[in-house]
Symmetry: C2
Subunit: 533 residues, 2 copies
């Protein structure tokens, strides 16, 4: 069963590698295991539901608690230390597209607010009802809508019900020889519809595309009716209405059906570990790889602190020590940076790409170490997040902040984010361990993805104060440096106030007009993306 107050399956118990706690004690300070709320204590805080009965709606406290929290650090703190805060009044489980429409109509008639829920993996506060929302709140859970309803093998277009999660989606495609290739860290639980409406990006989006690229069409259930978007390969017939759905975060309608561009399973896939002597060298290399438009499947460059952290926490201390001696001999000593490079395609494509990429990374002082680190990374690509459970239980909490901007500002952004976070915590007398990688690269720029490890507070209020200080300082730094407030997590409520800087007042007025047109009565007015009006 899924863990109610952390990541993943509750039978999986992650263990911190040897030395991890010493490492963190040195960087962040000593910590003690927090006294978590028990489930029964949390459920006792859930008030009675205000919904009238409906055959598809569950109103028990546990279902409501689970549907009202995602994976943001704020959600973790609420569930681990309390207060729980407001939860929804019920969870609807539609089984067909018609159920979705009927539930929207029912909620409208009952004066109930609707918040769609996919895999509940949001890290930006999409799911918790606003404290001051006067209406009862219904979570519309898409979990039972998971079928592959159509596969056009000629056009490589697959249509799914929108609630399908990553593993289920890929399994249904794999049985027919196809794949989507969308692999965010939340892959195990996140839903297809959620990926679309939050403009999600997977680890190999360099090859398979962000959701903007593979989202071909679908059906959006708006309060006023169904909106059908045909899967055209390209069109000059006015603005592309798919782009209204992408990033709409449940404010325009509920996405019930999604047509995606799929591809044949590749012949070969490799992930290579390449070390650079410095951040500057690695940055120049990934920029050139992106700008030469080499059809790689992944480029992920860690800064020096992240590289050190990865090696320290890898286990196998003896092997790592040997590797570091070799790297130092090749010119990659203190300050070295690790690039994980993905190659996917036919056998000759992978061979040619490896040769061309290799020539380029060597010109920048890069040292290839083959597939061993890559295989280790790939094996743990969806499991590493379980470490957050173990870290919390040792007294450390983790948050991630991310943006994207033009290459010209990349290094300044990395520095600004890490410094802003450290300073915000220092003002509270706390330290953090911060490190960064570029998770996605483009010809014109890259994402910047920073991880912060800090100490859990003595109670929920103290933890939340640390989290809020960190989050608002980093958001401000991102805006000041000209980055987007999110490259891959979305807006939710945590990033809403920072939108104006990148959208301009006129752009926000357009978003408001779109919402007002699709949902004039505010049935879906969760407060995600845009404030209530």
């Amino acid at each position: 069963m899924r863990r109610w107050n952390g990541w993943g399956d509750d039978t999986v118990q992650a263990t911190l590698p040897a030395g991890a706690l010493d490492f963190l004690r040195e960087r962040v300070g000593p910590a003690r295991p927090p006294a978590d709320l028990r489930l029964a204590e949390a459920l006792a805080q859930v008030p009675a539901s205000r919904l009238s009965p409906h055959p598809l709606v569950q109103t028990d406290a546990e279902a409501r608690l689970r549907a009202s929290h995602g994976q943001s650090l704020g959600d973790w703190i609420a569930l681990r230390q309390g207060p729980i805060g407001r939860v929804c009044d019920g969870v609807a489980f539609p089984e067909t597209r018609e159920d979705v429409r009927a539930l929207l109509d029912w909620a409208q008639a009952q004066g109930v607010l609707v918040i769609p829920v996919g895999g509940a993996t949001s890290v930006v506060g999409h799911l918790r009802p606003e404290a001051d929302e006067p209406r009862p709140v219904l979570a519309l859970a898409m979990a039972r809508l998971r079928a592959l309803s159509e596969l056009d093998e000629t056009a490589q277009l697959a249509t799914f019900e929108a609630g399908v999660t990553g593993p289920d989606l890929e399994a249904q495609l794999r049985a027919r020889g196809f794949m989507l290739g969308h692999f965010p860290q939340s892959f195990d639980y996140a839903s297809l519809g959620g990926w679309v409406v939050t403009r999600s990006s997977g680890q190999q989006s360099l090859r398979y595309g962000r959701s903007e690229q593979w989202f071909a069409g679908g059906r959006l259930q708006t309060p006023g009716g169904e909106w059908v978007i045909p899967p055209l390969p390209a069109s000059a017939a006015g603005p592309d209405l798919r782009e209204w759905v992408l990033g709409s975060e449940g404010r325009l309608g509920v996405l019930s059906d999604v047509t995606v561009q799929v591809s044949r399973l590749p012949e070969r896939e490799q992930f290579l570990g390449v070390f650079f002597p410095s951040w500057e060298a690695g940055l120049a290399a990934v920029r050139e790889l992106a700008q030469r438009r080499l059809p790689l499947s992944m480029l992920r460059l860690s800064n020096a602190v992240e590289t050190e952290t990865t090696l320290r926490l890898a286990g196998h201390a003896g092997t790592i020590a040997w590797l570091e001696r070799y790297l130092a001999w090749r010119g990659c000593g203190t300050g070295k940076c690790l690039l994980m490079l993905g190659l996917t395609g036919s056998v000759p494509q992978v061979r040619a790409l490896r040769a061309e990429a290799g020539a380029l990374w060597r010109a920048h002082g890069g040292v290839g170490t083959g597939e061993r680190l890559g295989r280790a990374w790939a094996a743990k690509r969806f499991a590493g997040v379980y470490l957050r459970n173990a870290l919390w239980e040792a007294g450390y909490m983790v948050d991630t902040m991310e943006t994207a901007l033009a290459w010209t500002g990349t290094s300044a952004m990395v520095q600004a984010i890490e410094q802003a976070g450290a300073q915000a915590l220092a003002a509270l007398g706390e330290r953090c361990h911060a490190y960064t990688h570029l998770s996605h690269v483009y010809p014109t720029g890259s994402s910047v993805y920073s991880t912060f490890v800090l100490r859990v507070g003595a109670d929920g209020a103290e933890s939340a104060a640390r989290w809020r200080a960190l989050k608002s300082a980093v958001n401000a730094a991102i805006v000041a440096q000209g980055g987007t407030i999110s490259h891959q997590h979305g807006v939710g409520r945590d990033h809403r106030d920072a939108l104006a800087a990148e959208k301009s007042a006129a752009g926000l007025a357009q978003l408001d007009a779109a919402i007002a047109q699709a949902d004039p009565q505010g049935l879906l007015a969760s407060g995600n993306l845009r404030p209530l009006r």
Copy 2:
């Protein structure tokens, strides 16, 4: 100087290749040179301007006539045979972004409708004022806004004033070692801003991207104020407002500044001619090339009639006869189809791509003929359109229709378009010569681009009746087959009525809401994209 009633520079006189007229006489019927309107006759039909004087506004009849017509066949017929119909009351030539804003304010105060004009190469009726528009009409010509205002070599982002035309844009970039790579057939005259607001696609969009891909950001001057879109490489911060501008066709504002993604000049470029024994073989090959995601720069597959037409009109009859004997010996006889395949990149990339693409086309029975046909195509890529002048003068007029859809429907669409056009003309007792190519391919589908050659009528009314019958029959066929009403030409007024099929009523309501928000008083209500309200 630019020709006032046809394509291109008026000192360029295209000559039809030997045999062309015999070929058309056989296919379409005999024709006589039409008696064209002279410029003085056309100018005599232009009524007095209703605008008050403004230092940036020209009101002479010739400037107004030129700014009110694009390159649609309807525009040609009006200018060559009359009646001229309504023209704008004046043409503004802003020289700065501030001029654009001031002119919008002036027009608003004067109760004047504004229609932005870029290169006036529209083929879907963007420029002619609606007959029943009661207000005076001002054409806002962007021709003097052509500067490269910023080049960020690190991020490969270039910002131009939006009126810059293709050759001027590429020349400014080439001087710095960069290029955009957007090469529609209208390249010589079309403007950057026009490419963005009509979602234009160039011949090598497979490598360089459609305008959706390279349009990174910019400034839109809406009646209410300026809308600034930063050039972020990617973002999950809500819907992407660039997509509101792309395809807006002058209805939301005037695009004054455009930031584009550029790239380094490539080391090598090749265009190869490959013949397939049949349409089905060629179609299977291009689909597989697209779905294997080979980073080619162009794939353009002609059907058998287009292939035959190309060879007949190529000149060099002796060489062509020899080539055809060779191709027949290799299995490509009657019904053969020509693929033009573009390879662009570093020397090793081009070599590897050619080997991989070659293995694939040979597996489908394709016969490579090297670079000779490709060089001929590249040399004439922007000049071929001059033939339309010569054809008209011989009594034949040309129109093109285009769409895009999933691979599953490609062949049926080609047949439906060609048949619909032929039947519509047969009902008028006329014949046409129709042929088709796939100009752009994608993993999920392709464009379909059909050319129709038909006889000019005895007068403007007869020519217009033929054109309207052809256009409406083909539009209906495109909609019936599930294609978009335009892959690369835009909507204008000629495609407006067909939008509902692909956008759905809810989608159209969203477009109307966007327009109402940006332009509440209808300053820009040209009728392009959406009807007046």
